[in-house]
Structure formats: structure tokens, C-alpha cells
Symmetry: C2
Subunit: 353 residues, 2 copies
């Protein structure tokens, strides 16, 4: 484990920018005194925020740039306009050059992924990157991937996702051999599920040393925490995540309305307030904030664009853990075990790609 962890922050990313990123960095520093920051963005905005935080200032360096990638920029625009000089690109470039151990941005996902792919390239043995995130469950947390880095997946890509998600789970949950399930739908004989079935066969037969493949899971198993790692292709994964987030928000909205309905329910709320707060805490989306870009030659974390400093700090914390426990080496270790011969050639992988 490295003694220091050097973190490159895109200070301009997110709906708010420096006013969230800098206090977020401060929170992370309080929890992990060994961190150092490279802060990329408009120094006129960043410097006053850093100056007000002497401890943060002592471990930070500001690198000025005028260019910030807009939250609504298309990935191709980001590549054209922001490839070299944007705060986002400079943060990733710091990882590439070895000046930082990881980069964190709350900027737009498509642009961040495009720049990260362009600058860092995929790891040997991995053809497409993925986005993985924590998902709160009744048992604690699971990891779900891919959340939208790519659409469609052949069997080989699903196996890669299992390997990468497993490495992340080992770090986050401290389990030697985390359980992995393939997301599937109940109907067994529908055409189009061949890649999922084939990936299941490979995972079962190969019996990887660092992951324990347990079979298929369905959408409602995710929140039950049935497995440590849920593997699916990016379109379904993104929609599952957002459908679950939307449902949680919907229930919170209805619960709030219900609790304010009468004098009696308001009294009830006063008594139950702490319980409801602890419930809200255990479902707090800020705690699960931070999508890890997996499969690249470097660690890049995507924070939610609308989060606050606390939420941003959770994303940085996760990146910190990934570096402390050497995510890339963990993935590489399992990839060596994978053996190319076991995975069918990608061109014949077929299916939904």
C-alpha cells in the first residue's frame, strides 16, 4: 500500500463546481490525513476556497486552467475542445503521467469516460471499460456494473465485468472471494439471453480463484444483497440503477406527504423522527456516491454531478480505498488467472453487442 495517496480533482466538475469540490476535499483529508491534492480549474475560484482551509492548503497544489467541460457537452465535443486543457482532461492526464494516483470528477459522465479512455486506454486483456458503483441493500452494500459505459455485452465482456467487479468487491468488502451473480430475467427460453448463459457457463466452469460465481440474479435480488457483485450490460444496468433511485425518491416523497397529513401523523413523526432519519441515512444516495471506471490503466472516479461536499467526499474516499488496496493489481491478478483460451473469441461472442 502506498503511504500517500495523491488525488487529482477536476475542481470545475459538477453542477456547483469548486464550492462543492474543495469542501469535499477537506472532508476527505480529515478522514485520510495521508492524502495530497492536485486541483485543476479556475484558480480565481479555487484559491480563496483553499486559502480558507489551512490544512487543505498545506497538501494541495492548484493548477490553473480556463477551460471547463460543460455538463451538457457531448463526449465528442469534450474530446475536440477539452482534450488537452480542460480541468477534467488535466486531472486524468495527471494520472497518466504518474503525478496523481487517481482522478475524481463530478463532471459529465460521457465526457469523462471519453477522455479517460482516450488518455488512459484499456488494460491489457480488457476490451471495454465499465462503470461500477455501490448499491445499498438490506444486508449492507453490493456492487453493480456496468452502469452505462457501453451498451450490449457479449459473454467475454460479461466475464470481464465479473472479474473487475470482483476485484472492487474484495477491496470494499474485504472478502477474499466475493460472490458474483449475473443479472437475468425470469423467462428462461427467450432468445437473446445467450451471452448471459454463455458467461454463466464460463464463470462456472473456470471457477476463478478470486470470485465465487453463484448463478443468475433478478432485478429484485439486487436490493436484497443476494450477491456482492451484480453483473449486467450497461443499458440495463443504468436503467436498473435509475429505476431504483427513482423509486426510493418516490417513496420518500409519499412518506413525507403522508407524515404531514394531519396533526396525529405530525405527532407520530416527532416520535419516529430519529428512526426515519436512520432509515434515510441507510438509503442516503450520497454514501453510495462514486462510480468507479474499471478496465482502464488508471483509477478514475465519477461523482454525481448534483451531490454536495459530503457526497463528493464519499466518492473521493472510495477512490482512496481503490488506490490503498491497489485495484489495478487486483484486477490484473485475476485476469492472469482468466486464461484467454477459456473465453471464446470476441468476434464470435454474438448476442446483444
Amino acid at each position: 500500500m502506498p503511504n500517500r495517496v495523491r488525488i487529482a480533482l477536476d475542481a470545475m466538475g459538477g453542477d456547483i463546481g469548486p464550492a462543492v469540490v474543495i469542501p469535499g476535499a477537506q472532508l476527505c483529508l480529515e478522514r485520510h490525513p495521508g492524502v495530497e491534492f492536485l486541483l485543476f480549474g479556475d484558480s480565481a475560484l479555487i484559491a480563496p476556497l483553499v486559502d480558507a482551509r489551512p490544512r487543505l492548503k498545506a497538501v494541495s497544489r492548484i493548477v490553473h486552467t480556463d477551460i471547463a467541460i460543460a455538463m451538457d457537452a457531448k463526449p465528442s465535443q469534450a474530446l475536440r475542445q477539452g482534450r488537452w486543457k480542460s480541468s477534467m482532461a488535466l486531472a486524468i492526464d495527471a494520472v497518466k503521467r504518474g503525478d496523481a494516483d487517481l482522478a475524481v470528477s463530478a463532471g459529465n459522465t460521457g465526457a469523462l469516460m471519453a477522455l479517460a479512455k482516450f488518455q488512459l486506454k484499456t488494460m491489457p486483456g480488457i476490451s471495454r471499460p465499465a462503470i461500477a458503483a455501490r448499491w445499498p441493500t438490506v444486508r449492507g452494500e453490493s456492487i453493480v456494473l456496468d452502469l452505462g459505459a457501453s451498451i450490449g455485452a457479449d459473454a467475454a465482456h460479461l466475464v470481464d465485468l465479473a472479474v473487475m467487479g470482483g476485484a472492487m468487491a474484495r477491496i470494499l468488502f474485504g472478502r477474499e472471494r466475493p460472490t458474483v451473480g449475473l443479472l437475468n430475467i425470469g423467462v428462461e427460453e427467450v432468445k437473446g439471453l445467450e451471452p448471459v448463459r454463455e458467461a454463466g457457463r464460463i464463470l462456472r466452469e473456470h471457477n476463478f480463484p478470486f470470485i465465487e460465481y453463484t448463478g443468475y440474479v433478478e432485478g429484485d435480488d439486487i436490493g436484497q444483497g443476494v450477491v456482492d457483485v451484480v453483473v449486467t450490460e450497461g443499458f440495463a444496468g443504468n436503467i436498473a440503477l435509475k429505476a431504483a433511485e427513482g423509486t426510493a425518491r418516490q417513496i420518500a416523497h409519499l412518506l413525507k406527504a403522508a407524515m404531514g397529513r394531519s396533526i396525529w401523523t405530525r405527532i407520530g413523526y416527532l416520535f419516529a423522527k430519529d428512526a426515519l432519519r436512520s432509515l434515510a441515512g441507510s438509503m442516503d444516495p450520497r454514501k453510495a456516491n462514486g462510480g468507479v471506471f474499471l478496465g482502464l490503466n488508471g483509477v478514475v472516479i465519477k461523482s454525481h454531478g448534483g451531490t454536495d461536499a459530503e457526497g463528493f467526499a464519499y466518492a473521493v474516499d472510495m477512490g482512496y480505498d481503490m488506490i490503498r488496496h491497489d485495484l489495478l493489481a487486483q484486477i490484473g491478478q485475476t485476469l492472469v488467472g482468466k486464461g484467454d483460451s477459456l473465453v471464446p473469441p470476441r468476434l464470435t461472442g454474438g448476442g446483444r453487442s
Copy 2:
């Protein structure tokens, strides 16, 4: 609108069978005095339950069969073994022969879809059937389809889904021109979204008289009730539905645990009980029970296998509405408006099929 609605019930379907189906039929009859039932299954189990309900008995006919399709039967098994004589197949066959207006089964989804496709065939102009269901939202309800009848969708199939979901929404929500959105993920330039984009183009340019296409929606928009009809391919749709159901169950579980934590929270619960019950009511999965098989020459409704009589009755009620307002004619009407020339040939539709 037909005066009577004749409903064929697979009395053996579901985790419980007749003990849920028959009381469910009774509930439906109380709400819709004009219904008649054909009850397919083991008469030794069905008859006593019907005899105990004189009003139901007066409008029901029991058709005995020994064969019931197991909840875990594969669709291919169901076709081989239950094609002609199972309670499920006989209920569908009653629709085909014109003896019933619709069939309802709580039996296994794959088998029911396989038999329904085999016996009823798809409507002219529709190449693949779909499963649609209601989704509770903060504004009321929306319809989401496809929930897993088929995997992958080219642009033409997505347009069909929009047309069929629109017809169902006109009936359920009484809107002349329900709003329709295509489920998509935020990242705009990921390869593989071509069918969704192409379907969006067709829906926008063609401007169907009976549906109002409003653009893309994301997973978290579903629960917000942003549109009346959410269109997606079956794999992502199934996973979105189950992820949302799982999240609702997870929060209910956490809420229950939180409310029982101390004497104070238990007192709070007493005061807030009615409010929490009304919340549970508005998210009651029984009320949204009933998947409508769309695109077949007949109306078939899939009830959840684990529901109770109340839930089963909601599924039958929905089928009743579909017949009273002539779902098939409503779909046909819009399909005529579709015009084949506007939809690219299916073979070149490409994408995730």
C-alpha cells in the same frame, strides 16, 4: 362495448391456485356484475369453492382438466405437454374459439406467453408480442412495456410498443392522446443506442394521431410519472421493474425495522399508522397486478403468481377494462395510421436484436 364480458380463468395458475383464483373471481364479479366466467382446472378443487359462492356459481362454468402447467415448467415443456389440455392452454383456447373475451392466468409467464403466441398468433402488422403493466408513480400510474416478452428491440419493434402501449393507456387513463417516452440512458454517444434513436425519429416525424411522443426518459423518470407510457426493450424493462419492486420492498423492510426500534418509535408508529398505511396502499403492488400481453389476436392477462385474491381480482379487472374498451380495435386503429412505409424494413433495423 360488449354488454357482457366473458372471462376464461386458468384456475390452477399461481403459487396457490383455485383458493386465490375463485375468491378473486368473486371480487371481480362484485365490481362488474356483467361478467361471466369459464373456469379451467381440477373440478374437484374448483367446484367446492364455487358452490360456496352462489352469485359466482350462477355466472360460472367449470371445465375440468387434470393437467396443470407447473410454475417452474420451461416454455418448451409447456408447449409439448400442456399445449392442448392444460388449464392454461384451455383458457387461451377459449379466447381463440370465441367462447371467452379474455384469458387470465397466474401461471408461469414463459409458458403463458409461449402458449398464447402459439394459439393466438400476433396481430397483423405486429411481429413480436409484448408484456405491459401499470407502474405506480407520484402522479398516479404509468404503463411500462416491454417487461420481458422478448429481448432486444429494433426501431420498428419499439415503435410497435409505443403504439400498443398508447392504446392501453387510452383505455386505462381515458386520455385521447397519451404521452409516450422512450427509455434511454443519459450518455448520448454510446454505440448501441441506434434503435432507440431511430425509433425516436420515427415517432417524432410520423406524429401518430393517438399518441404524443415526448422524447427520451431515464430510469428515474418512470416513478415521477413523466409520461403515460414508457417504452423499452424487454430485458431492460424487466430488470427496471424488478429493481424498482425490490427497492420498494427494501425500504418497507427498513422502515418496519426503524419503526420498531424503541418505545418512542413504536409510539410514533401508532400515531402515524394511518398515514403509513395509506402510503403502503398507494404503493400496493396488488393494485398494479396484471401484465397485459399485447400484440396477439386476443387479450391475455398474466397475474403475479404470488398474489392473493385481491391482487388477482385487480388483474382480472384490468382485462375487463381492456375488453370493454376494445383494446385490439384500439391497437388496430393506430396501426392503420402507422403506415408500413414509415418504418424501415425489419431486417435492416439492426441493433440489439
